[in-house]
Symmetry: C2
Subunit: 485 residues, 2 copies
Amino acid sequence: MSDALEPVVKEIPPKAADLSAWYTAACLKAELVSYAPVRGCVVLRPYGFGLWENLQRELDARFKATGHENAYFPLLIPESLLTREAEHVEGFAPEVAWVTQGGSEVLTERLAIRPTSEVIIGTMYARWIESYRDLPILINQWCNVVRWEKATRPFLRTMEFLWQEGHTAHASADEARAETLAMLDVYREFAESVAAVPVYAGVKSASERFPGAVETYSIEALMPDGRALQSATSHDLGQNFAKAYDIAFTDRDQTVKHAYTTSWGMSWRMLGATIMVHGDDRGLRIPPKLAPIEVVVIPILRAGDERALEVARDVTRDLRTCGVRVRLDERDAQPGWKYAEWDVRGVPVRIEIGPRDVDAGTAVLVRRDRARGDADHKRSLARTAIADALPELLSDIHRTLYAQARAFLETHTLRLEDRAAFYEAARARAGMLDIPWCGRPECEAHVKAQTGATTRNTRPLDGDDRTCVACGEPATLRAYFAQSY
Amino acid sequence: MSDALEPVVKEIPPKAADLSAWYTAACLKAELVSYAPVRGCVVLRPYGFGLWENLQRELDARFKATGHENAYFPLLIPESLLTREAEHVEGFAPEVAWVTQGGSEVLTERLAIRPTSEVIIGTMYARWIESYRDLPILINQWCNVVRWEKATRPFLRTMEFLWQEGHTAHASADEARAETLAMLDVYREFAESVAAVPVYAGVKSASERFPGAVETYSIEALMPDGRALQSATSHDLGQNFAKAYDIAFTDRDQTVKHAYTTSWGMSWRMLGATIMVHGDDRGLRIPPKLAPIEVVVIPILRAGDERALEVARDVTRDLRTCGVRVRLDERDAQPGWKYAEWDVRGVPVRIEIGPRDVDAGTAVLVRRDRARGDADHKRSLARTAIADALPELLSDIHRTLYAQARAFLETHTLRLEDRAAFYEAARARAGMLDIPWCGRPECEAHVKAQTGATTRNTRPLDGDDRTCVACGEPATLRAYFAQSY
């Protein structure tokens, strides 16, 4: 298996010129990831893992606050078990990595490395659930999954990736639907209030549905190149898996019924969306709540005057005591070189302390979200006021990043009424194309064949419309069409 | 691949009669684990995962406090890469699960599911390290690993398990050795002050060394059946992996040198040790710092008097606000049934609130560490005093569990001076047999063949001894011998 060669990055190219080249270069130069010696795989380096840890902490707290518990299920799934839900296995078989040998033993039955865990978790639920008293079961798992894949795009497309997958079982269809929607909303709220990425939440079309689901919901973000990126999904599985894996319970009325199940997941893809949405020509701009380092402190030393170092240490210690994720950069290098490096890595706030600051009892706070020429890019502050000022400063940086991304999404969401304009915009990756849609798979397939765009998600019609902009048949839904990652 | 059948548990058998049966029954009945539909694998259920989360949180904080960062490396390792360190591959080859197919493609090179990650991490370090300025690298990874295995003993022996593996690279042999010992001490301190499990730390003999290591250190706990359980290991890898994977750096003097590396790991085995050491005939006794639920609150309702429920809710809410991990059990069941269930699950403190307590403004606190007849098993306390009393009560429970385990270890650590008595004690699993030892592999092999016992770890001679108790040759070390898990 040949090694996916890691591109050599000298400079980060301009973002607008070639988003893909910018993205790969930014991920590598910021040391988020390295390419691994296995095709299709990346290593999540400490700075990248720091992003993942913050995502985990924020999302996990939301899962727990909504009554979910974590558990861990096996990596390997016997083939005979995987094949019980027909649509599911058909959807995933082309992507499965198979274990066929253990030590020197050749296995009589192949084992799949989990591409997702409905099968193994459903099998356990069938054993654990007997009565309505055992319901609901609300479990989440943080784990790695493998889906056979030859391309390597950090966070967006890799053979192995990290994610969380929630799996729940309920006594009624209504309750399962409510869970599916509640978790979709957790994802939406997380994307907006933690990653500062605005998204559209809605229902997937049949062709984009999870194999084996009754209904799939998604949140979709818009990338700077006008393509959509599906950032999380939530599936109402109805009784499909319950029937295939025999998840049954005795209800209050003493009859035996199949349970209703759901599953929902967000992967490190969300980090890819975050990087692409917020970055600029200098590198990453990490939203503060995900930032492994919220503040970097850089002392400016002059020959014969190293007082700034001691002050910088004090400031760092104070901020750490206040719970700020702060790093002191005391490496032997020029301040300007350090500024550029921390700009690449997207640290939200830089604190510079030079000899004049030492004398004046001040420090200079620099915002990564602002362009260099902006009036409030830098400001000088009394050192004693920094700790108090930081929470609001970090919040404001979050709001700025969100507002910029929201403005982009809004200006690139086009409500089109004309068929030719729609096809043209779809081909041109003009953004989220919001149209009344007939809901027919044939119509979606035609748009895809002609333009490369598909439905991202759909919602009910919101007015007295009318006809499908894509084909002229009666509309039944509103849909966002876009080309996608 | 046939399913490992999950034993059916009605009652937990007495611990002293059959530790193995007690252990399996306690793990299942407390709902820590379930047997999975893959031979050799278990599911970590929410209550078991709660233990793991607490272990992770405590250990991770210690790693970060000592300068380590987390990262994530790929699950799959190409065979050609695995085979570069000869001893290492020889040691692990019999335990490797091999991926040979991806989708419908048959691979030209097999991929190993990581049994441990020295190989893949070493490969990355070789790319990342250029100069002495890049050293040390101090990285930890929390992940799953697979080692081919047909038996299923929850936490102790499974095909897939969860663990952490630290991997560091240094510029000098001394620094690598110091890291190895520092992490060994982190493990010892964790075992004692979090899991309340006393351990012996020391050096492994050559035959027990990690494949590819220069020196392996371990912490060893003693189980109630007189067998030792290796609970964590720390390896000084010298330059072996650096040479095999070409981890080289330019030193201050401009010469190119190979780095010195270490690795160290603790797995969910530590939970197995904790369960076995502390449990009693009623089930688990979980040390408070690992307990997913520190306190369970049980209202006692009488027909026509359900006031205790409201009070129990208030108490629960108050404790939660104080940061206590507390669960209110308001299920429709008899209090006595609930007491027994939470005893099985080993919750350190139970709070009972009945009608008389409602009137008196009190509650009854029951300690899980105490036997039922003990004077301080239960005490009544003003409800307003509970939150203040709990931290000390939980600390005292930790101390009690540790003291009991320590007393057992001490009374079952035998300093023997007579060869026949040593062989007899080794056969009888009398505990940790502490003897002056010659250090010769032949001697160790002979003891193992005759008794089943091996060296657990060794340390320098501490006096003017003398001769090896096992064989009569000159002693070079002191060693703990024991049969082991």
